[in-house]
C-alpha cells in the first residue's frame, strides 16, 4: 500500500535536512509503529506524507497504491485515502465542526466521482461515530477544535478518521496530551478501524500507546533514518533501555 524509498527531505525555508533516506513498506492490514527520540524526523515524515509544503523532497519516492504520491496535492492524497491525525489539531474559528465534516466528506466523494451524501445519511454516520468515540453533539456544534480540550481534539481527529474511511491512517503522536481514559477511548476508536484493507502508521514516543494499539511491526527512526525494525517486543525493549543505543548507531 505504502512504499517509501530512500526518502530525503529538508525544511524548505532553511534547507535543514531532516529525513536522510527513509525506506518503509506498509502492506494492507498492517499496523506499523514508528518510534524515535525527539528530533528524529517522525513528525516531518507524517507531514511529508500528507503533503505539507514546508518541506522539500530532495531524493527518493513515495508510492501509494502504486501511484507517485509526491506529485499529488494534499487534498488529492486525502481523496486517494491518506489520512493524517495531527499531533496538534488546528483550531479553526468560524468553521462549524459539522459543516467542516460535511464539506470534507463530500469533497472526497466528489473527487472519487461519488454522489454527495444526503443530509440524513450524513447525520446518521456522524451520530454513530460520535457516539462510539464519546463525542457530544454539543461539541460538534462548536467551531472546529476551538475551545476543545487536548483529549477532545484527539477524539475529534479519530472521529474524522472514522468518517472519512481512509485506506492509510498516519497517527502523529495521537497519545500526547491524553489521560488514561482518553487514551483508551482513542485507542478503541483506532482499533475499530483496523481491517485487512486498511493500513496504519502509528508515530509515538512512548510504548504506552502500543499497549492499546498493538503493532505488527515496530521501527526506530533516528536522525532521519530507520535504524532498527522488529516486532512489538522492540517497543518494550525501547521502553526499558531508551533510545541511546540507536542514537549512537545512527551517528
Amino acid at each position: 500500500m505504502l512504499e517509501i524509498k530512500n526518502l530525503h527531505a529538508r525544511i524548505a525555508e532553511d534547507e535543514t535536512e531532516i529525513l536522510r533516506g527513509v525506506n518503509l513498506t506498509v502492506n494492507p492490514g498492517e499496523v506499523h509503529a514508528i518510534m524515535g527520540p525527539n528530533g528524529s524526523g517522525k513528525s516531518t515524515l507524517s507531514y511529508v506524507l500528507a503533503g505539507k509544503d514546508d518541506y522539500e523532497i530532495t531524493e527518493g519516492e513515495v508510492l501509494f497504491n502504486g501511484e507517485n504520491m509526491l506529485d499529488m496535492d494534499p487534498d488529492e492524497r486525502a481523496a486517494a485515502g491518506m489520512f493524517l491525525a495531527f499531533q496538534y489539531p488546528i483550531e479553526i474559528p468560524g468553521v462549524a465542526t459539522m459543516e467542516f465534516l460535511k464539506t470534507a466528506m463530500n469533497a472526497q466523494r466528489k473527487a472519487r466521482g461519488e454522489d454527495a451524501l444526503s443530509i440524513p445519511d450524513f447525520m446518521k454516520r456522524v451520530k454513530a461515530a460520535a457516539n462510539h468515540l464519546n463525542v457530544s453533539m454539543d461539541m460538534l456544534k462548536r467551531p472546529l477544535n476551538v475551545g476543545f480540550s487536548g483529549g477532545e481534539k484527539k477524539r475529534a481527529e479519530i472521529l474524522q478518521m472514522s468518517l472519512l474511511e481512509p485506506k492509510l491512517c498516519v497517527l502523529d503522536e495521537t497519545d500526547s496530551g491524553l489521560d488514561i481514559d482518553a487514551l483508551r477511548i482513542v485507542s478503541q476508536g483506532v482499533n475499530t478501524l483496523r481491517s485487512p484493507e486498511r493500513a496504519m502508521v502509528v508515530i509515538t514516543h512512548y510504548q504506552r500507546l502500543l499497549d492499546h494499539i498493538v503493532p505488527d511491526v515496530v521501527h526506530v527512526l533516528s536522525k532521519g533514518r530507520i535504524v532498527k525494525t522488529g516486532d512489538k517486543d522492540l517497543a518494550l525493549e525501547l521502553e526499558k533501555n531508551g533510545y541511546a543505543d540507536y542514537v549512537d548507531a545512527a551517528a
Binding site: 505539507k52 470534507a104 467551531p143
Partner: protein, 439 residues
C-alpha cells in the same frame, strides 16, 4: 475665514453644475429646500468634490475617481422595475415587506403600503414633505459631519425618497426591504428618513439593484430612534458597477434604545459607507458592523463617527474586510466621548484579510475621549490566510479554492453572526460565496 481662491473644476464638477442647471426646475422642495440645494452646490463650487486633502477622504479620493458625472436618471419604466425586482432578489425566499424606489423616486404602487399600515408603519413620499413647511428639516446634515461633501452632493440633487414612520410600540413582524432600483442609467440621489417611535422595533433591509451603468448613487439614511426603540439596518451594496456608490447613515439614538447596523459591501468600483451616529439619550446601545469584500483595483471605504454625547451608552464597532487583487480597503472609525459622557463603553475592532500581495488596507481606528470614567478600546489587524489552517483543511480532502472559501467565510461570518439578524445570515453568506466565485 479665508477668502477662498476659486478652484479649477474637474470635468465631473462641471458636469455636476450642468446637471444642477438642467434639473433645478424639476427638483422638489419649498423655497427653504431650494436654498439648501443652492448652498450645497455653492459648497461644491468652492471646495470641489471631496478629495485626499480633506482628512475624512484622505484614502478615498472621490474627486480623482469621478471622471465625469451623468445626468440624473429620469422616471423609471414600471414594467422594467418589476422585471428587475423579480430577477435580482437579494434575499430569495425571505418573508418581508417592500418599499420600492426606482431611479430616485418612490413608487407606492409597487410598495406594500397597506400591509405596512396594518403593522403601524406609514410611508410618505419625501417629495411631498420637502415641499411642506418643515421640508428643510428633512435635509439637516449630520451633527458630526456638517460640511460633508457626499451629504452636500445628496442635498443638492436629492430626487426623492420616503419617510418611514413606525408608530409608538409597533413591533414590525417582518423585515422591511427598502429597495432602490436603477431601471436605466443616470445618477440617483435619494434621502430616506426613518422615525422609529418610542418602543417600536424594525429591521430594515437596504438594497440597491438594477442596471448599474453610468451615474453615481448617493443615498442618505437618516434614522431617528426614539426612547426604547430598536432599529436594525442591514445594508447591501453589492454587484459590479463602475460608478460610485455613496451611502450615508445619520442615526440619532434616544434613551434606552438600540441601534444595530451591518454595512455589507462587495463589488462596486468605488464604494463608501459612512455613518454618523449620535447618542442623545442615556443607557442606549449601538452595534455597528461592517463586512467588506473588495477586489480588482476597486476601493471600498467604511467610515464612521460614533458620538457618545451623553453618559451610560455602549457602542460596539466590528469591521471585517477581505481584499484581493490590487484593491484598496479603508476603515476610518472614531469614537468621540464628550466630557460629561461618563460610563461610556466603546469597543472598536477592525480586521483585514489580504488575499493578495498587492492589496492595500488603511485601518484607522480612533478614540477621542474627554470624559475620565469610561471603558474604550480599539484595535486593528491585517493578515493573510493562515497556511496551517489551509493545510489542515486540504489534508482532509478539501480542495484549495474551497478551503479558502471556508476560511474567508469564517472570517467574515464572525461579524455577520455577532450582528445577529438570523433571518438574513444565510442570504449574506450566499453573497460572500458569490463574490468569492466571481470577483
Amino acid at each position: 475665514m479665508n477668502a477662498s481662491v476659486p478652484i479649477k473644476h474637474t470635468q465631473a464638477e462641471s458636469d455636476l453644475f450642468d446637471r444642477f442647471e438642467s434639473a433645478r426646475e424639476a427638483l422638489a422642495g419649498s423655497v427653504a429646500v431650494s436654498a439648501l440645494r443652492e448652498a450645497a452646490v455653492d459648497q461644491l463650487r468652492d471646495r470641489g468634490l471631496p478629495h485626499r486633502r480633506v482628512e475624512e477622504y484622505k484614502y478615498s479620493d472621490l474627486r480623482a475617481f469621478m471622471k465625469a458625472a451623468a445626468l440624473l436618471a429620469t422616471a423609471a419604466d414600471l414594467s422594467r422595475v418589476q422585471a428587475i425586482l423579480e430577477d435580482q432578489d437579494l434575499f430569495g425566499g425571505l418573508e418581508r415587506y417592500r418599499i420600492v424606489i426606482a431611479n430616485g423616486s418612490y413608487l407606492p404602487t409597487l410598495s406594500d403600503v397597506d400591509a405596512l399600515a396594518t403593522e403601524g408603519v406609514t410611508v410618505t413620499n419625501l417629495n411631498d414633505a420637502l415641499s411642506g413647511e418643515h421640508g428643510a428639516q428633512l435635509l439637516a446634515p449630520p451633527k458630526s459631519g456638517q460640511n460633508d461633501g457626499v451629504v452636500a452632493l445628496n442635498t443638492a440633487f436629492v430626487q426623492g425618497g420616503v419617510i418611514v414612520d413606525v408608530a409608538e410600540g409597533a413591533a414590525v413582524s417582518k423585515p422591511v426591504e427598502l429597495v432602490q432600483v436603477a431601471a436605466s442609467s443616470g445618477a440617483q440621489a435619494t434621502r430616506i428618513k426613518v422615525r422609529a417611535g418610542a418602543g417600536a422595533s424594525l429591521h430594515l433591509l437596504e438594497t440597491f439593484i438594477g442596471d448599474t451603468a453610468e451615474g453615481e448613487v448617493n443615498s442618505v439614511f437618516d434614522y431617528d430612534i426614539a426612547d426604547k426603540a430598536h432599529l436594525a439596518a442591514t445594508r447591501l451594496i453589492v454587484g459590479n458597477c463602475d460608478s460610485a456608490r455613496l451611502l450615508t447613515t445619520i442615526a440619532t439614538i434616544g434613551a434606552e434604545a438600540e441601534f444595530r447596523s451591518l454595512g455589507f459591501m462587495a463589488g462596486p468600483k468605488f464604494a463608501r459607507n459612512q455613518q454618523f451616529i449620535n447618542f442623545v439619550g442615556e443607557n442606549s446601545e449601538a452595534k455597528i458592523y461592517g463586512v467588506t469584500m473588495v477586489g480588482r483595483d476597486d476601493l471600498a471605504d467604511q467610515t464612521l463617527i460614533v458620538d457618545h454625547a451623553v453618559p451610560h451608552c455602549n457602542s460596539r464597532e466590528f469591521f471585517k474586510t477581505v481584499l484581493d487583487g490590487r484593491a484598496k480597503g479603508v476603515y476610518q472609525g472614531r469614537i468621540n466621548v464628550a466630557q460629561h459622557a461618563q460610563k461610556s463603553d466603546g469597543e472598536m475592532m477592525t480586521q483585514a484579510l489580504l488575499l493578495s500581495e498587492e492589496a492595500e488596507m488603511a485601518n484607522k481606528p480612533e478614540l477621542e475621549i474627554f470624559a475620565d470614567d469610561v471603558i474604550c478600546a480599539h484595535g486593528a489587524t491585517s493578515g493573510q490566510i493562515d497556511e496551517d489552517l489551509l493545510f489542515y483543511l486540504r489534508a482532509r480532502g478539501i480542495p484549495e479554492a474551497e478551503a479558502k472559501t471556508l476560511l474567508v467565510l469564517a472570517f467574515l461570518s464572525e461579524a455577520i453572526e455577532e450582528y445577529g439578524e438570523d433571518d438574513v445570515t444565510e442570504g449574506l453568506e450566499a453573497r460572500v460565496r458569490d463574490w468569492l466565485a466571481s470577483h
